[in-house]
Amino acid sequence: MVPDCGRILRVPAALLRISLATAMQYRSDFIFEGLTGVVRTGATVAALLLVYLHRQEVAGWTLPEALLVMAFFLVMSSVVQAFFEPNLGAVVEQIRQGTLDLLLMKPADAQLLVSASRMAPARLWDALAGIGLGAWCLWHLPTRPGADDVLVALALFACGMVAMYGLWILAICTSFKFVRVDNLRFLLMSVSDAGRWPLAIFSGWVRVLLVIVVPVGVVTSFPAMALRGAWTVHLVLAAAGAALLFAVGSRLAWKRSLASYTSASS
């Protein structure tokens, strides 16, 4: 069966509209979330400023360059918290209550429905903060990146996000087996925190882990390296490889867990 492409886009778009409408019912929450986001971003940036009080550069990265990694991190974590994280919580709840059966009966791909069933658009404020920070950094980089560097950076970021999506689907798959994994999302979020800093500060084997096990390095450090003009063909291939690995791996794992799923009601 050839999947209908229009439908693949229409389904998440409709679900996003519902989430937005829900968020807009709680307008003060939405604004409040933005204000707290500013404070949170401020604290994480301040932690990095403390480092650069003492040093001109760390592991070869100057302040604007390191902040660029932080900017990509903010965009990534805000997208994860807005779109990936709420869904893991939703699936765990649905499996426990048996309501996942209703979702599986709908005439659309179940993975598509599961990965867009609940969203928290208020979390996207952090992405705005990240984009602002990134713009400031681009302005202050020692050498202005060329158009090709920017394109490669965007492509690397996209690859990284695909890999992160795969990681969260894999986490959802574990909930079919272990049910009570609500806090697995806190574990994933806290491990992802390692993406705040350039990969260069980590020792060799941790660097590898941050590319192929928890691919945050691909989302945050790789694009920043591209914007410094330091991208290579190897870097692009590594990012594409990670994206492919996680996309295919998570799809296979999803199919398997769905096949072995025996609902709470039966």
């Binding site: 409040f32 009080l53 760390v58 806190f186 574990l187 806290s190 500060i201």
Partner: protein
């Protein structure tokens, strides 16, 4: 007071059974505290070019290892628990018990701490076996004061969280407000970096704020960065904040309960 002491053994048993029932969940919670390791990676790279504010690579590793331990020993989650109870009305049946729900929760968290230590001990043991230079005996007086200080730090986190949770009697967004507090705490308590690396002008302010008392004071005692003599005034500040917040929490609790009753729960 006497009936609290009579109830304690049973509360301990119940709390421990609860922790053991959800042991996998508890183990994951212990593993989520990776932030000290991530901060260590950053500061380790900084210290590679020479010591910062007296912290070389070994001192950095020792500082953040101590942070990891203290963070586990001072873990509290009364914010989420109490907030949930207030919003869902689950607090009502608990109020009928002859024991204050806050005391009950406090005991169950102290019990869970023992379980956390069971998970943590082999990790710390392995770390010290791998890098024995990280252990620097803090001296008996400092070691004794560490226990006092870590108990006060736990009480401080518990009281602060309880206060933020009690805001749910009046506000909808108490969790968001705690997010703001938590961001400030990360920066000012010594969680993201030893407070020694702050500009000199900040030091007196940092010492008087409650944040250091929630983490940095016990961490520095355990890591041998703070002598027993220098620690005493700081433990005094911890005690002062604890008493102030306890009084505030007791007052807010009474006012909040009146408000809670007011909407017919």
């Amino acid at each position: 007071m006497t009936h609290l002491f009579r109830a304690l053994p049973t509360l301990f048993r119940v709390g421990f059974a609860d922790v053991v029932a959800y042991r996998a969940e508890m183990a994951i919670w212990v593993l989520t505290a990776t932030m000290p390791l991530i901060m260590l990676a950053l500061w380790n790279a900084v210290a590679a070019q020479g010591p910062v504010a007296g912290f070389g690579q070994v001192e950095m590793a020792r500082y953040f290892a101590a942070t990891l331990v203290v963070r586990q020993l001072t873990g509290a989650w009364i914010l989420w628990q109490l907030n949930y109870l207030i919003r869902t009305g689950g607090l009502s049946p608990l109020l009928l018990r002859p024991l204050n729900p806050l005391t009950y929760e406090a005991v169950s968290m102290v019990v869970a701490m023992h379980f956390r230590m069971v998970i943590l001990a082999p990790l710390v043991g392995a770390l010290l076996w791998w890098r024995p230079e990280l252990w620097k005996a803090p001296g008996w007086a400092a070691f004794g004061l560490f226990f006092v200080s870590v108990a006060l730090a736990w009480l401080l986190s518990f009281l602060i969280q309880a206060l933020f949770a009690m805001l749910a009697f009046w506000l909808d967004q108490s969790m968001g407000l705690f997010g703001v507090w938590f961001a400030a705490w990360g920066l000012l308590s010594g969680y993201f970096a030893p407070t020694a690396v702050f500009p000199a002008a900040w030091k007196p302010i940092l010492e008087w704020l409650p944040f250091r008392g929630m983490l940095a004071v016990p961490v520095e005692l355990l890591g041998g960065f703070l002598s027993a003599r220098d620690a005493l005034p700081q433990i005094g500040i911890q005690l002062g904040w604890t008493l102030t917040l306890a009084a505030l929490a007791a007052f807010t609790w009474r006012r909040g309960l009146r408000r809670y009753g007011a909407y017919g729960a």
